[in-house]
């Protein structure tokens, strides 16, 4: 997993917001191997190299759900919520934009395909 995180970090091309939205197309992750790479990149960006991916599967639906860390037994009123990233192909790059937030993670377009 750590190795995946490092690979993912190398794929983390940009967190800028300057790409055009005009050519943005909803996309999904091509397969489970690609998902591992994308998850590593997202994990590196959010500071949690290991996390569980929620539903729906981003290989089928153009969104990646990042589940919060599990709770310890003493966390009886936790505000933790999943984070949702919309997946698009944007001018040749695969972009994950966090919904209702500003985080933007860009990975290689070989990891995504349009739907």
């Amino acid at each position: 997993m750590i190795a995946q995180a490092l690979i993912g970090a190398a794929l983390l091309l940009s967190v800028s917001g300057c790409l055009s939205a005009s050519s943005s197309t909803p996309a999904v992750i091509i397969d489970q191997d690609a998902l591992s790479e994308v998850a590593a990149a997202v994990g590196e960006a959010i500071g949690r190299p290991r996390f569980d991916v929620g539903l729906p599967m981003p290989t089928e639906v153009p969104e990646l759900v990042v589940l919060p860390r599990g709770l310890s037994p003493l966390e009886t009123r936790s505000p933790a919520r999943p984070r949702v990233f919309d997946i698009t192909l944007d001018d040749g790059a695969c972009v994950l934009n966090e919904r209702d937030a500003t985080m933007r993670v860009v990975v290689s377009d070989r990891l995504c395909r349009p739907i």
Binding site: G54, V65, L67, L71, L74, E75, T76, R77, P79, P82
Partner: protein
């Protein structure tokens, strides 16, 4: 250098450690530690408390130099005020090593039996009584038509060691908390009539089972749904609740008994979903389930995350835990709900009660006063210790969240807390849970039919105390992390 009531930014002291860690944590994240000192760690605690502690104005600012140990310094960084009933206002101030915290947070299924015990005493004379077993676990496996553990049975001995008064805590711990799946241990159990039996149980990997039972009860005035729901914590809580509500909606129930008597809480988000599924969109649309009230210096910002303080809506879709994000949730569209409660009904469970009351859904409380925890925190690591300090109070759509003495059934003699319609009824571990003879469920159905309560009862007259009262001795603790045995510091242990 300490100057009274002058605080540098907590960020300026963060991760400057007396003993810096190297490498990565259990989640693969590099440790951020830099060389520092115990004194700097204490200054971080002081500033972090000033910035994020809900009751920061009630903390006496003491010189960190006067405290040798960071934990001793942390222990006094809280309010010492009391609630109207005399309980500590802040009973939720603690810390634990970060590696233990992370291990507990990301734990895979652990070895166990799938049984939950009521711990009346963890020191000799010990008293553990079976609350319930989870379906499909070793505890529920039947031998000769009887489950390995049955509600109401007390542990007498484990692997030949006297559980009640014995000193062989190693044997008792080995049996009660098996390290691995596949371990067989022998228990002598005694029921409420003094009848003893011996069972041999083999441990397995078990996980908490959120929804233990779902039933539809036919009455002369319509069908009543019943859900025995024990934790908001694992991701499976989301789809198990959806399945339960779907089943009850299909069966056209017109009332719901939500059994939260042993539910110590968990995720607010799932509490929100449950409240929505009970009430439907009518009273909840556009309203707030829970808003987090931070300290008065935070303004509209969450002082922990630095982000805008976004309230929890009544979530009407899956969130991706185990139901696809965006998938519509089923609803019962009820204007009232009967909640079964004990002092173990806590935190996120109370959020459901408070959130529904905030949109005028009637909550009828049957059982005992709830634990009274409207507070929460963001566990925060610094230099290998994870700290828990109260950082927010949850308030409902009406802005209400003052229930530190709990929600209280209307006919209770307890003069404090927030009174709700309903009945004071003692849980009875000798009665099968969720069945007609269960005094809480029976009282709920009677109240629904007649609007009357049975004479109030309390646990003191239901539970037989061990002879001689409780005495101090060596407590049994689960291997590795004592906190694994306690979902809440004020609650008896909950072992599964």
């Amino acid at each position: 250098m300490w100057t009274a009531n002058v605080f540098e930014s907590a960020a300026s002291y963060k991760d400057a450690c007396a003993v810096p860690r190297s490498g990565r944590d259990l989640e693969g994240k590099s440790f951020p530690d830099q060389p520092g000192s115990t004194l700097i760690e204490k200054f971080w605690l002081r500033s972090w408390t000033e910035e994020t502690y809900l009751f920061y104005t009630e903390v006496t600012d003491r010189d960190p130099n006067l405290f040798g140990d960071r934990l001793a310094y942390f222990s006094q960084l809280r309010t010492f005020a009391v609630t109207p009933s005399g309980e500590d206002k802040d009973e939720f101030h603690f810390s634990e090593p970060t590696d233990a915290y992370l291990a507990a947070s990301i734990a895979a299924p652990t070895a166990g039996y799938g049984v939950s015990f009521e711990v009346e005493s963890n020191t000799a004379p010990r008293s553990y009584t079976v609350r319930y077993v989870n379906p499909g676990t070793p505890a529920a496996q039947e031998v000769g038509g009887v489950a390995n553990f049955v509600r109401g049975e007390r542990i007498i001995s484990i692997d030949g060691a006297d559980f009640v008064n014995g000193n062989d805590t190693d044997t008792l711990t080995d049996g009660l908390f098996p390290e691995n799946p596949g371990e067989m241990h022998s228990f002598v159990l005694e029921d409420g009539n003094g009848v003893r039996r011996t069972v041999s149980v083999t441990s397995a990997n078990v996980t908490p089972d959120p929804v233990n039972a779902v039933r539809t009860i036919s009455t002369g005035t319509g069908k009543v749904g019943y859900i025995f729901f024990n934790t908001f914590t694992p991701v499976t809580a989301e789809d198990e609740l959806v399945d339960a509500v779907t089943q009850l909606a299909t069966e056209n129930v017109t009332d719901l008994v939500l059994d939260l008597r042993y539910n110590g809480g968990g995720l607010i988000a799932i509490a929100s979903q449950l409240a929505y599924m009970v009430a439907g969109s009518g009273p909840t649309a556009g309203n707030t389930f829970e808003r987090l009230r931070f300290n008065d210096a935070a303004g509209t910002i969450n002082p922990v995350t630095g982000q805008a303080n976004q309230p929890f809506p009544f979530y009407d879709t899956g969130l991706g835990f185990s139901v696809p994000n965006g998938q519509a949730l089923p609803t019962l569209n009820l204007g009232r709900v009967f909640v079964l409660s004990t002092e173990n009904t806590c935190s996120a469970s109370e959020t459901v009660i408070n959130g529904l009351r905030g949109v005028d859904v009637e909550v009828i409380l049957i059982g005992d006063t709830t634990c009274g925890k409207p507070f929460g925190f963001y566990p925060t690591d610094n230099c290998g210790e994870t700290y828990f300090t109260i950082q927010f109070q949850g308030v409902n759509d009406k802005g209400f969240g003052d229930y530190t003495d709990g929600f209280v059934p209307m006919n209770s003699a307890f003069p404090f807390g927030v009174k709700l319609p309903g009945c004071q009824v003692a849980d009875d571990l000798d009665r099968p849970i969720g069945m007609a003879t269960d005094p809480l469920l029976d009282a709920a159905l009677d109240y629904r039919a007649l609007g009357t309560c049975p004479p109030p009862t309390t646990r003191a007259v239901q539970l037989s105390q061990p002879a001689g009262g409780f005495s101090k001795g060596e407590p049994l603790t689960q291997r590795g992390n004592i906190f694994d045995t306690n979902r809440d510091l004020r609650m008896p242990g909950d072992f599964e």
